[in-house]
Amino acid sequence: MRLGGAAHGPQLAAQDARFEIDGSAKTALEVGRNRLCLAGALFAIAFLTIAARAADVMVISGSGTEHAASGAAALAFDPERADIRDRNGELLATSLNTASLYADPQMVRDPGDAARRLAQTLPDIDATELRARLQSDKRFVWIHRNLTPRQQYAVNRLGLPGLSFQRERRRVYTHGALAAHIVGFTGVDNHGLAGIERYFDEALAGHAEPLDLSLDIRVQYVVRDELSAAMRSFKAIGGIGVVMDAQSGEIIAMVSLPDFDPNHPGEAPADARFNRATLGIYEMGSTFKIFTTAAALDSGTATLKSGYDATNPIHIGRFTIEDYHAKRRWLSVPEIFMYSSNIGAAKMALDLGVTNHRAFLDSLGFMRPAPLELPEIGAPMAPHQWREVNTMTIAFGHGLAVSPIQVVAATAAMVNGGILNPPTLIRRSGLEGQRGARVISPQTSAEMRKLMRLVVEQGTGKNAEVKGYLVGGKTGTAEKNGVGGYKSKALLSSFIGTFPMTDPRYVVLVMLDEPKGTKESAGYATGGWVAAPAVSRIVQRIGPMLGVAPVDGDAPSVKKQLFVSTDPKAPRLATY
């Protein structure tokens, strides 16, 4: 660099300086400056963009929290095990959070006072025993498991130090024993051990959606109420009551007595936990004549006008088939049905033939366990070799043991137009796609309705009558198969009814195990005297509840629809 003379002054010096920084140095400076500007501009743009966005977030769209909130998943209460409800949404089983009370004895200041006050607050706590435990050296003692919210509040109010709560899940059955055999119960680990709880164990554990049963808890209550009243008055050892929708196969009520509280299943004897309606299998007695008669009418081997000679008992092998309500004469088919003639039914079945009879009972599902959503299902007991004698006894309900629920489902098929629907405990939304198999023709079904109405109008089931509901049905009285043959004193008395007979909506079964005759039943313990009145009372109470329109039984159209002549004409002349 060359320095100019002082005489040139600053102007010259500046000129010189401008002049001097020329060439390569100047270019480097320019490039540096340009780059700096560019970088600065880029940073400024980036900064401004961020600033703009920040301002946007903070000021302009700052109120858009609704959008943000919808993205934040709300936590839902997880019951861990789905609820079980009846068909109207009434809760039957639910899981509740409960608090279990425990104490750290080291932290309890005055064990005596604490024990005394806790014993006053909570039931079934022994103050002296609790005091001893609170004085121990342990750091953890249970005081009371599964407190109710109210009890928890009361304990909190005591304000005792050293007490704490452990949260636990507990299955609660709000209706107690009312639907115990159907809903079942769970064990301490909340796994189903019986009933629906066990059958749908996995589904219940995996879903939060409640399971809706076909049961109607109000009907269930009525059935249980009337059944236990009948059990009390006839000193029966057990009872079964079932109400089924005749069209869909849905079970509206199913009671087995004695029953138990599913909240404390361990305290119940095994007999009470036994579901007689599905697990028990019984020789049903005369109610089976429904199926014998239907089979004969449907195959054409008998008509409503034909008849059989029931004058003399039948002797076959070591058996004698006799009539309980013996008429000792020729009986028409309607008479055989209404007087419940064993001789007539046996002859009717023989006419039908061993193979046909067996095949018909098979088509009704009597040879295999009922397809029901319960783990407690009894397998029927059928004879290994089906001979003529078996056909004759099974014709009136002895020699083939089935579960009561199967009889109800099969009876529904006899009166609903001939369609057998598998029984179900799950609510059905509609009939579409649920049609079962046809087992008899609509004509035979119409004839069976007439015959079953006849039983209540004039036959063995008069006590089942309900004004306005045109009950029809069949009585059954079976001798229990005990050690060394049948016991004539131990009866299984039943009545299977359906109403209204003009267009059956519901099938009702009442069955009493070993009822004893009373003064009111004129000393009788048969189905017509002990079970039919119970069916009558049940129908009377549930008919209006279920919205069944009363039918005027005296209306000419109804009379005509249900009329059947009991008078045997030509055949009687032919035999005399």
């Binding site: 900064f47 401004l48 600033a51 920040a54 639910t94 306005g468 009377q540």
Partner: protein, 122 residues
């Protein structure tokens, strides 16, 4: 010129820094609120669940029947109490006579009008 833009950017940066600071606090506050609300919803859900169970328990038919017997003068409905809409007068089917007050109930039943009975004291 450079000095002026520097000042501008510094002010802008300070403003935005302050804004972001506030925003962070606001978000934290909202998150706390969300958490609190979620917990409250859970608690309410659980309370509803317990109340559902209690409602069901209190609706036990045995209990309701006992209460109804004690406090109400109602009887079990029977078939005489059921009519179809078509039976109502003024529906084009006036064949069914309308019962005047004081007329006895249809024969064949032992049911008396509930209102004529003296109400039992609770």
């Amino acid at each position: 010129m450079i000095r002026r833009s520097t000042v501008l950017f510094l002010v802008l940066a300070a403003a935005i820094g302050f804004g972001l600071f506030k925003l962070t606090f606001e978000v934290q506050g909202l998150e706390t609120e969300l958490h609190r609300l979620n917990r409250a919803i859970l608690a309410e859900d659980e309370a509803i669940h317990v109340l559902d169970a209690e409602w069901s328990y209190l609706n036990e038919p045995t209990r309701l029947e006992a209460l109804a017997k004690r406090h109400l003068a109602l009887r079990t409905a029977n078939e005489t109490r059921m009519r179809t809409l078509a039976d109502l007068p003024g529906r084009g089917n006036d064949v069914v006579p309308v019962a005047k007050p004081g007329t006895p109930w249809p024969s064949g039943t032992d049911v008396q009008p509930a209102l004529t009975k003296s109400r039992p004291k609770p």
